[in-house]
Every structure is written in C-alpha cells, then in structure tokens.
Symmetry: C2
C-alpha cells in the first residue's frame, strides 16, 4: 500500500553528475540493484549518517573515505545492508570501493559505499564487482529515475524531488532521490537520500545546509520509531554557477528544504503498510524540544496509528499520547486538539459541539493533519508519519530485514 | 490470544478485606462491571497513579480523597474510563463516591474511585448508583476471583497472584488482582492493581514498599509503549499481625515483589494479540538507566515484535534496536546477544557457529528470553513484553478505547 498518487517528477540534469545502473543479482528478484553516481572533479560533497551504534560497514567506510579524499563516485547496492557483519563487512565494503576505483584509475578513498537491504548476510562482493563495468558504462546525466528505482527495497515506488531557481541570471537546479519504507525514524538522515545541485557552495556551507535541512525533513519522520543501521544522506554541489550572495543562499536554502521535505514525505507516503499520510503539528509549545516530544509521542503511538488505520477520530487516544509525553507541568485545560480543521478536544475533554459525524468525515481522508496547541508559548514543530495496518505486520513478519 | 496456560490461583482471604461485585450495565455485554472492596477501619492504604498528564477524573479524585481521609472502600467500574471528560468527569466520579458513602454512613472522602474502559464517554452515574446496593450486599472476604473478573476490559483472562509467609509464628498473606491488556507501558503503576495483606505495616513503610515493588514489576512491562490515563495500583495492609522486625520486613518485601511481578507478567501474557511472552534481560550495563534504555528500545521496537510474532530469530533487528538506544560510546564489539540460551551475535555480527536452525528452534517457543550483555559494567535490568501480531491491529482498529 501507499498513500496518494504515485508521481515521479522529471528531475533536471545536474551538470557534473552521472548515474549508472546495473543488475548484479544481489536481490533475489530480477531488478536493478546496483547504482553508481559519478561526481565531477572539483565538486563539494557533504554527508550525514545514522547515529545507530550498530551502524553498517559501509557507513564506517564512507565516513572514513569522506575524511580522506574528495569523493568521485557513490556506489550503492540494494538487497543487502552489509550491517551486523563485523570486520568481514568492512573488508567487503572496501573491496567493492577498490573494484570501482581500479576500473576508473582512482584511489579507493574517492568511492563512498552505501548498502540497503537485509541485515546480517555477507555481501556478494564478486557479483557487485562483476556488474560494475556495466553500471559504469551506463552512467549518464539523465538517469535519475532509473537510479531512484535501483535503490529500492520494500518501497513500492521511487522517490524523487527537484527545484530550479534563477539567481543572478543563472539557473540553479536541485535534484534528489531517496529510498525508505520501514525501519524509519532517522536520527541525522534517512536511509538513503542523494541530492545534487549545480550550485557553487563551499564545504562548510554545504555541510551546514545539509544538517539544517535534514533536521527539518528526514529527522521529522517516523514510520515505526526504529532507527536504521544504514541511514545516510549525501548532498553534492558541482560548482557550475557563480558563488551565491546572501540573498541567493537564502533562496537556495528554502528550495533545498522543499526538496528534502518532499523526499522525506515521499518515504512516509510509501511507509510499510501505509494507508494514511499524517502530519502532526504541535504549536504554542514552550520550546522546540517539548513540541517534538509531543509530536513524536503521537506519531509513535501504536494505539493512535491503529485508530487512524481504522479511520477512527479517537481523540481519547490522542489525549493519552499527548499526556504521556515528558512535558513538565502541562496544563491539560489549555490544550486544544484539531483533526483536519475539526476541533476534537479542549478543556481536558471532548470539544463542545463536536459530533462523531464531523470527526468520522474528517478522519476518512487519506491526508490527515493533527494539530495540537499546548497553550504554553510560541514554539512549534511538525513531524510526519503513517498509520499502523495489518499490512505493516504482514510485511515485517514475512520479510527478513 | 494469550500466552501460556490460564491459571487463576486460589487467593487467600485477607482478614479485614471484603469484595463485592455487581452488573451495572456499563459494559455493553452482560458481564459484571462494578466491584467494591471494603477495607476495615484501622487499615493502612498506599496507592500510586499514572503520570499521564491527561490522567482520568477518578485518578484526580482518588488522589484527593487519599490525602483527606483513611480509605474504607474502593469503587471500581469497567466499561468506561471516565477519562478525557473534563470537569463533568470529576463531578461524576465524586457522585459515585457519595452514593456509596451515603449507603454506608461514611464521608465521601473514604471512598476511592477507579475506572477503566473507553475514554471520552460520560460515566453512567445512575446505573452505578443503582447497582451499588447489590454490590455492597454481595461483599464477602472470599470473592477475589469474582472481583478479578469484574474489572477486565480487553483482557481475555483474570489475573491474580498470592504468597503466604510464616513470620514469628504468624501467617502473613498477600493477595492481589490486576487487569490490563493494551495501552500498557505504565509509569508508576498499572491499570489496575489491587493488593492486600493482613500484615501490620505503617503508612511510610507501605508507601515505600509499593513504590519499590511497582518500579520492579508494573514499571518494567510494555505491550505497546502507550501509557494509560487511568493506571493505578493500591496496596492495603489490614494490620492483623504483630509488627514486622527487619528480617520479617525483608521476607515480606521479597514476597510482595513476587506477587507484583506475577501480576505484571500476567498482563503481558494477556497483552493484546500476544502470542509470545518475552523477557528482555540487559546485563553488564554501566548503569541501571542505560540498561533500561536498551531493554525498552528492544521491547518497544515494532520490527523486533513483528519478527518474534513470525518466530524469526532476527538478530539484525535486535542489533538495530540495541544500537538506536541512547547509550553514549557503546562499543558494539563488546556486545553479546543470546535468545533462549543460543548465542545469536557477538563482535558486531552473527556469532561464530550460529545456525539458522538453532535460532529457529529457540524462537519457536512461546516463552522467549532475550539476553543482551553490554560489556560496560555490573548493572542489569529486566523488562517483559509481548509480540506485535495481526490481532493487535485488529483489536485496536476495531475497539474504541
């Protein structure tokens, strides 16, 4: 299942970026499962990775390589996460990088590895190395859609987003793809996002922009509260435009955030078993921290998520989820709760004039916005989540991730 | 569904305690739904309540009454939680107490109200008041089993536990009942536990014992990570024995903890949709706090719980859940993971010599112990949880709690 129409936008070419795809036979089914992303010399690259202590071998290797050299290739496989694989996993991730680097006459450190799929199985290094020539030969600038399909696991649809801006007479493009459907509660980035722009941005600027925009996009989503071992998000700037002035940078930041949020939301719309896309808006909080505590308390609650799956405007469970969040001295009398514009609760109970018919009509929609006003201050935060359906259980009781 | 055999022990009479039951028509089905517990004058009573900010009206009223007077009656209804009911809910809870108190010629403050069931519906005060004479007339010391049945909601079986000790030539009995199946991640107590003893214990001792034993029992269980609005646990000492010396108190504390843990575990065995009873043992932690973080990270993880439902010894998801816990500087190389005595993982990956056959055989059992050794210190903690099944989704998508 997935929520809403499947739309994959036509992603603009980013000068300096090529994408190649191959079928290496890592996935059991006959699908593309190997993607390479070529990055022109002189580009800047920033990346963020999962904070899970059991982070995967490719995360370790990519962090190290990123510190040692300017990346020229990303090497992404699906079908196997190369996580929980100990020292052998590290060697395997390095071997794949070495294989690609040898074919291109580059040092191995210029290749960043990324893996997604089943945890705990040894990576088929030989199959990956055998498929690399085909992947490299197919590399071209106009293959964002094939690459987006080549990185999927339990996803049911490819995810892409883009923006184009005219700044000082030049056109700046941002193109990005992502994958992810389960084990989604990223802590720093999601599993996996790749975003590129032709803009000229220094390393420090790029890193700051990536951290800022992932915080407000991938770090604001949850399917199942489970943080993956392989999360990673990469932002590449190929330096093809004039440097941005302050105004240009602001415009770029806004556009980049839109791309990141669109990708993050696409992951939720395709969340495992999802039948609803749910926005949780917490306003009038005393701090961002408490707004996030309340928002994630709702977004993680199995009882809220099963009620929404049942199209039940169950405001009692919503009050429960608000009340269990660690917010000191919450005055429940000041809290108001709305669902798609219908006031469900206020003054610690059901809102005056609320009728089940109103609630049922509002909650029947696929896109649901839950708005909680805490009456404590001026801070607000927004997170996105999906519902908890029978299909979520089936997918995760049947699929070995 | 429920895990293991349904056993309700023969609970010993506690001198000074009577239990009465009636069918008030609060529940839609024709079941007992009203329970009264008589407490002899001179008894000591301690109670702990939910920390959910949206705590139910009876929780507010019970706390107030407990501060104002020595309790003589507990008044418990199922079928309606009287939560999310604002000021009207408070008035309704008070009206029920007044009704019972008037029949017994006592001040209303001597009655403590408890409610469980659907959130957000007005309480049928008239039906409760009409059924009170029958409940009071039926009150007798040997009705623990009927009372245990009279407080159930989505529970599929009554829950009781007892211990008897001989101390200084006297027999001390502890009898307790509990209910709870969903919205279970208590923070201070569970929804609902009532435990009584004939022992002589002062108020301060009783309160300390209750806090200590609920921390290690009801506060160590989770079905769905959702903390109820109505959790409460009451401990009554009817002062029928000689005061306990230090040695006697130690023996009593140990027996009380066993009763509390048996009740808490009974809630997990009857967790909504449960097919497995799971013990998560975290050892070699640097502190109790980090042991609990890791234990609850596993016990709350939907991906771990769906894998266990599928009888899949999915150690990759277990490593993921360990790794996402907020433990600074965890050295994954030191972590070992066992399931029912089978070593699944060590040194950051699959254990040497582990075979899928071993894992499948171990995880096929109904009772599963997951043991995580962190290799950081001497602290340990244990929590209990259930799996996440299709029935959990069905129960909570169909039932309006």
């Amino acid at each position: 299942m997935a929520v809403g129409e499947a739309k994959f936008p036509r992603l603009p070419i980013i000068e300096g970026i090529t994408l190649g795809v191959a079928q290496a036979g890592i996935k059991k089914s006959a699908h593309d499962d190997l993607v390479v992303v070529g990055i022109e010399d002189g580009s800047q690259v920033a990346a963020v990775f999962t904070r899970n202590a059991f982070c995967a071998a490719p995360v370790h290797v990519a962090k190290r390589h990123l510190a040692d050299a300017a990346p020229r290739w990303l090497l992404i496989n699906t079908g196997n996460a190369n996580a929980g694989t100990g020292q052998a996993g590290i060697s395997n991730a390095r071997a794949c990088c070495e294989g690609l680097a040898a074919l291109e006459g580059l040092p191995p450190e210029t290749v960043l590895p990324f893996s997604t799929g089943v945890i705990g199985e040894p990576l088929f290094v030989d199959r990956i190395k055998a498929a690399l020539p085909q992947a490299l030969a197919s590399a071209a600038p106009d293959q964002w859609d094939r690459a987006a399909r080549g990185i999927l696991t339990t996803d049911t649809r490819p995810k892409g987003a883009c923006r184009s801006l005219d700044i000082n007479g030049e056109t700046i493009h941002i193109s990005g793809i992502a994958k992810g459907s389960g084990m989604i509660c990223p802590n720093m980035a999601t599993m996996l996002g790749f975003v590129a722009t032709n803009a000229s941005l220094g390393q420090a600027e790029l890193t700051a922009l990536l951290k800022e925009t992932t915080t407000l996009s991938f770090n604001r989503i949850t399917v199942d509260s489970d943080t993956s071992t392989n999360d990673a998000c990469v932002l590449i700037a190929t330096q093809k435009t004039q440097p941005l002035d302050a105004e240009g940078l602001d415009a770029f930041r806004a556009a980049l955030l839109e791309v990141m949020q669109e990708l993050a939301q696409a992951i939720i719309r395709d969340g495992e078993g999802a039948t609803k896309f749910i926005t949780v808006d917490v306003v009038e909080a005393g701090s961002s921290e408490e707004a996030l505590e309340v928002a994630f308390s709702i977004a993680h609650s199995p009882l809220v998520k099963t009620a929404l799956y049942a199209s039940d405007a169950n405001w009692g469970r919503l009050l429960m989820a608000i009340g269990k969040a660690p917010v000191d001295g919450l005055d429940v009398d000041q809290v108001t709760l709305d669902l798609n514009g219908v006031r469900l609760a206020e003054h610690g109970g059901r809102a005056e004039g609320y009728s089940e018919e109103q609630g049922s009509a509002a909650v029947a929609l696929e896109d649901i916005t839950i708005r909680v006003a805490l009456g404590r201050g001026q801070c607000s935060e927004c997170v996105w989540t999906s519902d908890l359906s029978h299909d979520y259980v089936s997918i995760n009781a049947d699929y070995r991730s």
